[in-house]
């Protein structure tokens, strides 16, 4: 099931892992920021785009991405592949994803441990899955297909969730480790998602991070969240990407970077988009933490692969 073993023909194309951008901070790329970014010229850092927004044939989205790609590494972040769903991947969507990666040669390519399509309906949300041997096999098969298509390891992002499934037989970290070991994929560690899920499901974010296979992490996401309440009036966090990174998430980030060393880190901000200097300042705060630990050697995982 491992891509590296099975896909002999892929060996002709150099795989881009570990990631070539190093311990730098990046931001989501929003078109309203393009003039400000271009005015400032070449900067340290990278920009991440949602793959689906650039799957049209032409037009202004591609002009904007070409302009930003000229001077900066980019990260292509897929949102809609439905890797976590039980049905076969959408072949047309897979071909579009491959085409986008081939066209822009991003430094980072990632997708989600989630599903968004069932039958013919696309739900435009990152929906949860149970963690069982059956779903693990299905996810691994889907990731093999994506990695074959893009000819490089995919970074798989841990989800934020609001519900659990009674039929789950393993923890999320065991599931994710299993996926990484079987497919050779890398991981995108979303620390806000860890904090949101830990709060929502009543587990320790630090324990989760201690169990997480950090040696496979090729990118970190940081984002803001919103607060609501659950059926019993207890705090329920929503992964809203609509504000600054919370203090608790910054603290977890520093703990991870201190232990594992610097990793490309993205500030995600997808709605109620602020002016560019506000987003840039969040990235600068992440860069300060990364720079503080540039000499840190990666620690071994608690569960060695």
């Amino acid at each position: 099931m491992s891509l590296a073993i099975r896909a002999g023909e892929s060996l002709a194309v150099p795989l881009r892992f570990p990631v070539p951008v190093g311990g730098v901070a990046g931001t989501s790329f929003k078109h309203e920021h393009l003039p400000a970014i271009l005015d400032a010229g070449r900067q340290r850092g990278f920009f991440e785009v949602h793959a689906e927004n650039y799957m049209g044939a032409g037009g202004p989205p591609h002009r904007a991405l070409e302009a930003i790609r000229r001077d900066h590494p980019i990260s292509v972040h897929g949102v809609c592949m439905s890797i976590g769903g039980p049905q076969p991947l959408d072949k047309a969507h897979l071909a579009r994803f491959r085409g986008l990666v081939a066209r822009y040669q991003p430094a980072l390519v990632s997708e989600h441990l989630a599903w968004s399509t069932h039958g013919t309906s696309f739900f435009n949300d990152l929906l949860p899955l149970p963690y069982t041997e059956a779903t693990l096999r299905c996810v691994c098969d889907h990731i093999d297909q994506v990695q074959e298509a893009v000819r490089r390891p995919l970074l798989l992002e841990n989800p934020s969730t609001y519900v659990a499934f009674r039929c789950s037989t393993m923890s999320e970290t065991d599931f994710i480790r299993g996926v990484a070991e079987r497919t050779g994929c890398g991981l995108l560690l979303d620390i806000n998602n860890v904090f949101v899920s830990a709060t929502n499901h009543g587990f320790s974010a630090l324990e989760y991070l201690a169990d997480f296979p950090l040696s496979r992490v090729g990118e970190i996401h940081l984002a803001g969240h919103a607060e609501e309440t659950d059926d019993e009036g207890k705090l329920l966090l929503i992964d809203s990407h609509d504000g600054p990174v919370a203090d608790a998430v910054w603290k977890l980030f520093e703990i991870v970077v201190k232990r594992y060393g610097p990793v490309p880190t993205l500030i995600e901000w997808d709605s109620k988009i602020p002016d560019w200097p506000v987003l840039q300042a969040e990235a600068a705060a992440a860069q300060t933490i990364l720079d503080r630990h540039q000499s840190t050697a990666p620690a071994e995982d608690r569960h060695a692969a």
Binding site: E52, A57, P60, H118, N124, P130, V163, A164
Partner: protein
């Protein structure tokens, strides 16, 4: 539990996302068996709100005309009956104009569906493949005896929307934020939507122009297209219309029909 049952989770989870009358998926729970109603509703809300927002982004003039509450109520009904079938949200909403025509609360706005059709065409033009428009000089190099045989290739962004109402004027007045003057909605208007470079442009076609443009876009030669346009409108100005379409960037190339 057999493996197949583990893979039924999406079939169990999906139906209630867009149907508030359905109960929670049976296998879903909060931590330690806690109830999950409000938790599942986060997904319901994410799906519904994000799809309504997607329609609002595709149809800003319809939103402005109807107001936010009207639009969101209408969109909520539409997404429940017609959820997206592609993960590309800029492809969504193609069925909304027909839905609007049948929507009882929109009966007093008979032109609204055509405004929506222009907005949908606008977004198609925005994302269409890039291509260099036909240069006007190419036509001036053709000898007059060959003009009738010319066949044009439409630019990938070119669209035509025909309306029995003043849909182009209403569209144009409501795509921005400037105050809207009173508009007589009863004048039939046809739209030519193109994107020669980076900006989508919506033009109001003169009488006969839509028939002419549609004929040319379907690959019929200039002579036939002109005859059809003259049938539709006796005062049709062939030279002005072909010059206008080329200037708009509606075509990418021209060939002699027998070439």
């Amino acid at each position: 539990m057999p493996l197949e049952q583990h893979l039924s989770f999406a079939a169990d989870f999906a139906p209630a996302l867009l149907d508030p009358t359905l109960t929670l998926p049976p296998d879903v729970t909060g931590p330690n068996g806690k109830p999950a109603g409000k938790r599942y509703n986060v997904y319901r809300n994410n799906v519904t709100v994000s799809l309504i927002d997607a329609l609002a982004a595709i149809y800003p003039a319809v939103l402005r005309i109807t107001g936010t509450d009207f639009f969101r109520a209408m969109a909520r009904i539409h997404i429940r009956s017609t959820p997206p079938t592609s993960p590309l949200l800029f492809e969504y909403g193609r069925d909304l104009p027909v839905f609007i025509e049948a929507y009882e609360h929109a009966r007093s706005l008979p032109w609204l569906a055509d405004v929506a059709r222009i907005e949908r065409a606008w977004l198609d033009a925005y994302h269409a493949a890039d291509a260099t428009p036909l240069s006007p000089a190419r036509l001036s190099a053709v000898t007059p005896d060959r003009l009738a045989d010319l066949v044009f290739t439409p630019h990938p962004a070119t669209r035509i929307v025909r309306s029995q109402f003043s849909a182009v004027t209403i569209f144009a007045a409501n795509r921005g934020t400037a105050p809207v003057e009173r508009i007589d909605a009863s004048t039939p208007e046809d739209a030519l939507i193109t994107r020669a470079g980076s900006d989508v442009v919506v033009r109001h076609l003169p009488p006969g122009g839509a028939v002419f443009a549609a004929c040319l876009m379907s690959g019929r030669p200039l002579g036939e297209a002109a005859a059809s346009a003259l049938d539709a409108c006796s005062g049709f100005d062939i030279a002005a219309n072909i010059a206008g379409m080329i200037e708009a960037g509606a075509f990418t190339s021209v060939t002699s029909g027998d070439a």
